[in-house]
Amino acid sequence: MGLGEALRSWLRVRGRSAEHVSFAVRRLAGVVLALYLVVHMVDISTLLMGEHVYSAFLQVFASPIGLVFDVVLWVFLVLHGALGLYSALVEAGLLLERRKVLLAAAWAAALLLLVVGVVVILYVMG
């Protein structure tokens, strides 16, 4: 089974249910967060190169581009977290009868946290 076939099966959303789309979003968010973690390790390690290099990096993150990046990161974090909580519950065999309600609740929570977080990032930290 090729990589193309495997990726297509995960990311194919046409004809797929809301349940599957949520799964795909959760997975994608997880991958992005994992990649971010690696990148973050790299940029933190610039500290080793001296204070002025590290400060230069911090400047980038304080800029508007940095804010956009923070918002995007927050989106992925919230989605992965909320949908992850949903999957943690059902994968342990809990609340299976109400899984549709649970999924809706997870998305609602994600949206709420998203809005709150974006507000915080843009107005408080921006």
Partner: protein
């Protein structure tokens, strides 16, 4: 109504599939399978597809219709045609043998020799499982479609019933290629034509295993 039936064709030795278009007259209450059969009888006898009971109990006629897995014998043309177009493709997750026929051996070969086909419903009533063994759950499952060793939703769902009745499961069920590979996408339960709920049963089986209520043999 006029229907444009688009069928994915593939024969042994072809490098790429081909999409054939058949313009047919159809009654909206006819089944998609009726259309495919009519095309194979009147327009192209080389079109291969699987079918048997024509009333939703044998699982042979599962196909992807306009992107959605369905049992075509109980899927009405009028319900699925989009602007008069119906695209028919073979199920995902299985190797294509020819046109709409797929090789379901990855599913059937995982059945234990002593598979129980009947459930006891009441004191004097037995029933074949609702699961018609169509393989639609494999086609819908992102894990089954990317991990060939995965036992698969229906096989694991049957194992859940076995676990409840007899308190044991075969080792492969409790392994990495068994219940632990399910990642809660639940598209299997959403697409299952008989509401067998394989996704839920896999999770319930996990709980039984975690609680130590089932013996792994």
């Amino acid at each position: 109504m006029k229907v444009r039936l688009v069928v994915r064709r593939w024969k042994e030795g072809w490098r790429a599939p081909r999409y054939d278009v058949f313009e047919v007259e159809a009654d909206p209450s006819e089944s998609v399978l009726d259309l495919v059969e009519r095309v194979s009888l009147k327009l192209d006898p080389t079109l291969t597809f699987e079918h048997a009971c024509h009333h939703g109990v044998c699982g042979a006629c599962g196909m992807v219709v306009n992107g959605v897995e369905r049992l075509t014998c109980v899927t009405r043309v009028g319900d699925v045609a989009r602007n008069g177009v119906i695209l028919v493709e073979p199920l995902h997750g299985f190797k294509v043998v020819s046109d709409l026929v797929v090789d379901k051996s990855r599913m059937f070969s995982r059945y234990p020799d002593d598979t129980r086909t009947l459930e006891r419903v009441a004191a004097r009533v037995e029933k074949l499982w609702d699961c018609v063994e169509c393989g639609i759950c494999y086609s819908a499952c992102p894990v089954a479609c990317s991990y060939p060793s995965y036992l698969g939703p229906s096989v694991l769902a049957w194992a859940f019933h076995r676990a409840v009745e007899e308190g044991m499961v075969p080792a492969p069920v409790a392994s990495g290629s068994g219940v632990w590979s399910c990642h809660a996408a639940f598209d299997c339960s959403e697409k299952c034509p008989v509401n067998f709920q394989p996704g839920e049963k896999i999770m319930r089986l996990r709980r039984l295993l975690l609680r130590g209520a089932v013996e792994v043999v």
